[in-house]
Point group: C2
C-alpha cells in the first residue's frame, strides 16, 4: 500500500506541484486489483474528452480532443483505479530534464531546488509530491527512468511493446514504451502486472546479479560508491554472488556504452523522431520552446542516407545483450550518473552535453536491449535521491518484478 | 532473381493493373544487396513529398504531404533498390478483400475475375502483374498474407515490431507489422534481410514441421487436400517427419483457432483501431465507403469496458504458442481457407462473414503469437492460386527464412 495518502482534492498542493495540466476524475469501470488507487497520465497519452498536448501548445491547438482513452488507461480503470489528472510532459517528450518552456518545471519534492527530470516530469512529480499513488508515462531514451531516479521514486520501463501504445502519440516506434512510476514497489508491481496482463507468475529463480561496469564508471564518484555499496549489501543479504561485466562483454562487441548511445541508438531515435514529429513541425511551423529548438536543429541537419550501418548495429546489440542475459540473470547499474542538476543550470552547451551524453549512455543499455528496467529509489547523495536500476532480458518483465521483490525481502 | 522483368515505364500496364495511386521515381542512395530491383509502397507508408492517403480521400486531403520517407523505405533505397510507385491500400487498411470504394480493385493477374485480397491489394497486384520486383506493405490481421495467397506470390509478415514503423500510419500497435511481397523466394529473402537488419545468419537447423490441424479443418476441402499433399511432399523430400497439432495443443488452452480470433485478438484489434483511426473519423466526419461504413458500425458499438479478459487472454496465447514453437520448429497451414472469391461476390452478410470469419481465424494464429509467417505460392485449385504458410517462433525470422530455403532446395 502507498505510504502517503493521495490527495487529489487538494488544489493548493496540486497548484504548488506544477505537475498538473488539468485535474480530471475518471471513475473505475469496476472493482479490481487497483481498487482505491489514484493515478495521473502523462500528456502524450489520450484521455477521452480531453486534448493531448504532447507538451507543445500548437500541437494541442491543431488537434481535436481525444474521444477514447488510450488502451492502457482503460486497462487501469478496468482494474479499479481512478484517474485524477493529466500531467506535464516535456516538449514533444524530447527531453530528459523536465524544464518545459511552455508548461514549467514540476516540483522535485525531495530536492525542491533541482530539476525533476523528464520527459515524464509531471508523472514523477505528481507521485513524489504524494498527489497520486502512481502515474503512467512513456520512456524511449530514459523518460520514465530518469525522472524516477532524480525524484526518488520507483519507475519501470517494460520490454519494448509489452504494453499497447494505442492512444499514445507515436514518438520513436523502435524504442518507445509505456510504463509507470509509484512511491513504493508493491504499488508499482500491482500496476505493472495489470498493464503487462501477467496472468501467470514467473517461475524462474534469481541466480545471478551482474554489475554493468561501464555505467558505474560513467557515474559521478559519489553515485558510483553509493550504488556499489547498496548492490553489494543487497546481494549479500540475498546470498547471491555479484559478477562484473563491461558493455563489450555483455553486448559481445568491441564497443563501450557511450558508443552504444552515440553510434547506434541515437541515429535510430533521430530518424524515427523525424518521421513522427519532425514532419509535423515542418508542415505546421508551430511555436517552439528555445531549448527544444536547439535540440531540434540537430535533428533537422541529420543525414538519413548514411546511417543504415548504425541501424544494423542496433539489431546486433539487441541480440548480443539478450544472449548474455540468460534466464535467472539481472543486471544492475546506477539509473542516472548524477543526482538532479540544480534548476536552470543546464544553460551552457557544456552542461547540457555532460548531462545528456552521460545520462543517455546509461539509458541506452535497456533501449538497445529492448529490456525491462526498474529504477529503485535506494540511493541518496547529500540528501538528493538517485536510482539504482535493475534490468532483465527482453520480455522477462515478470521475472524482473519477482526478482526485485526477492531482493527487497530476502 | 525475379522471373519477370519489372516494367515501371509501361504506362498501359500500370493503368491496366489498377494497382498504382501514383508512379514515382526514388533513386537508390547507394549500391547494395538490392541493386537493380524496383519496388512499390503501400499507401499507408510515407514517401517524402507525397501525400499518404490511408486508402481514404478525406484523410489524404486533411493531412499535409509527408516530408521524409518512412524509415523502411530509406532502408531499401540505401540497399540499392528503386521505388517506382505508391500503390492502393484498402480503406484505412481495415479490410482483407481489396475492393476499395475509392481506389478500385487492383488486378489479380493470375485470376483476373477474382478479388486480389487486401489490404495490401496494390502491393500484391503490382508485383503479381510484374510491374515491380517487390512491394512493402503492412499486416495486422492478414493484410500481406491474404493478398499474397490470393494473388499467388510470396509474402512475409515478420515478427511483431522487428521492422521500424516510423513513417507508417499507426493502425493496431499490438499486431501491426511492416512486411513485403515478391514474385520469388530469393527476392523476398533479400528484401526481408535488409528490413530485418539481419547481419548474422541463423545457425538453428530445421528439425520439426508441425501441421496446424485447426487451419486445415477450416479450409475448403480442395485447399485442405492440396495443402496436405504439398507439405507431405516437401517434408518427405527434406527427410523431416511431419507432426500434427491442434490449436489447443499449441496454445496450451482449451480453445480453438476461431476462438483465438473471436474471443481474443479481435477485441484487441477493435480497441486499438478505435484509438488510432476511430477518433479521427469521429472528429473529422470524413466521407466513408459503404463497405467500410458497415464494418465501422461494429467498431463504434464496441464496449471497451468489458473486454479486458480477452486482452489478458491474448498475452497467455502469446506465451503458450511460443513455448510450443521451440527453436528448430516451423508450423504449417493454408494461408487462407479459400481461393480468391469472385469480384463483387462479397455482397451479402453471409458471404462477408464466411470469408472474414474463416480467413481471420487462420490469420489470427501468427497475430496472437506475434510470429513471423511466410506465405508461399505453392498451391493451385482449378487454376486459382492459394498460399501455403510457414510460421516460426517470435523473433525467429531469420530461422524461418533459412528453413524455407532448405525446404525449397533440400
Amino acid at each position: 500500500m502507498p505510504q502517503r495518502p493521495a490527495t487529489p482534492s487538494n488544489p493548493t498542493a496540486i497548484e504548488a506541484s506544477g505537475a498538473f495540466v488539468e485535474t480530471v476524475s475518471l471513475k473505475p469501470f469496476q472493482s479490481g486489483t487497483l481498487d482505491g488507487l489514484t493515478f495521473t497520465v502523462k500528456d502524450n497519452i489520450d484521455l477521452g474528452g480531453h486534448k493531448t498536448s504532447f507538451g507543445n501548445p500548437s500541437w494541442r491547438d491543431e488537434h481535436p480532443a481525444a474521444i477514447h482513452n488510450a488502451l492502457c488507461v482503460d486497462q487501469l480503470l478496468a482494474a479499479g483505479a481512478t484517474c485524477i489528472g493529466k500531467v506535464v510532459a516535456d516538449e514533444f517528450t524530447y527531453s530528459l530534464d523536465g524544464e518545459s518552456h511552455f508548461f514549467g518545471t514540476p516540483l522535485n519534492a525531495k530536492a525542491p531546488d533541482r530539476i525533476p527530470g523528464g520527459s515524464s516530469s509531471g508523472s514523477a512529480s505528481s507521485v513524489a509530491c504524494g498527489l497520486a499513488d502512481f502515474s503512467i508515462g512513456t520512456d524511449s531514451g530514459g523518460s520514465i527512468r530518469v525522472p524516477a531516479s532524480l525524484c526518488g521514486i520507483w519507475g519501470m520501463r517494460p520490454s519494448l511493446h509489452r504494453i499497447s501504445e494505442a492512444g499514445v502519440l507515436p514518438f520513436m516506434p523502435s524504442v518507445s514504451t509505456v510504463g509507470a512510476v509509484a512511491n513504493d514497489f508493491e504499488t508499482l508491481n500491482r500496476v505493472m502486472r495489470v498493464l503487462l496482463r501477467s496472468g501467470i507468475e514467473d517461475t524462474a529463480r534469481l541466480e545471478r546479479i551482474v554489475m554493468l561496469d561501464d555505467a558505474f564508471h560513467i557515474a559521478d564518484e559519489s553515485v558510483r560508491d553509493a550504488a556499489k555499496n547498496m548492490i553489494k549489501r543487497m546481494a549479500k543479504r540475498a546470498a547471491i554472488t555479484l559478477e562484473h561485466a563491461g558493455f563489450s562483454d555483455v553486448a559481445d562487441r568491441d564497443m563501450d556504452l557511450s558508443s552504444c548511445n552515440e553510434d547506434a541508438l541515437r541515429n535510430l531515435q533521430t530518424m524515427e523522431f523525424e518521421n513522427t514529429v519532425g514532419d509535423w513541425i515542418e508542415s505546421y511551423k508551430p511555436k517552439l520552446g528555445s531549448t527544444f529548438s536547439m535540440a531540434y536543429g540537430n535533428v533537422k541537419s541529420f543525414d538519413r542516407t548514411t546511417v543504415m550501418e548504425s541501424l544494423d548495429l542496433c539489431e546486433r546489440l539487441f541480440r548480443g545483450i539478450n544472449r548474455f542475459l540468460k534466464t535467472g540473470t539481472i543486471i544492475c547499474f546506477p539509473t542516472t550518473p548524477t543526482v538532479a542538476p540544480p534548476k536552470e543550470s543546464l544553460n551552457t552547451m557544456e552542461a547540457v552535453l555532460d548531462f545528456y551524453d552521460r545520462t543517455m549512455a546509461v539509458t541506452s543499455f535497456s533501449g538497445a536491449g529492448r529490456l525491462p528496467e526498474i529504477s529503485a529509489p535506494l540511493l541518496s547523495i547529500d540528501g538528493c535521491p538517485v536510482g539504482l536500476s535493475f534490468a532483465a532480458a527482453h520480455y522477462q518483465d515478470e521475472f524482473l518484478l519477482k526478482a526485485l521483490r526477492e531482493l527487497l525481502h530476502p
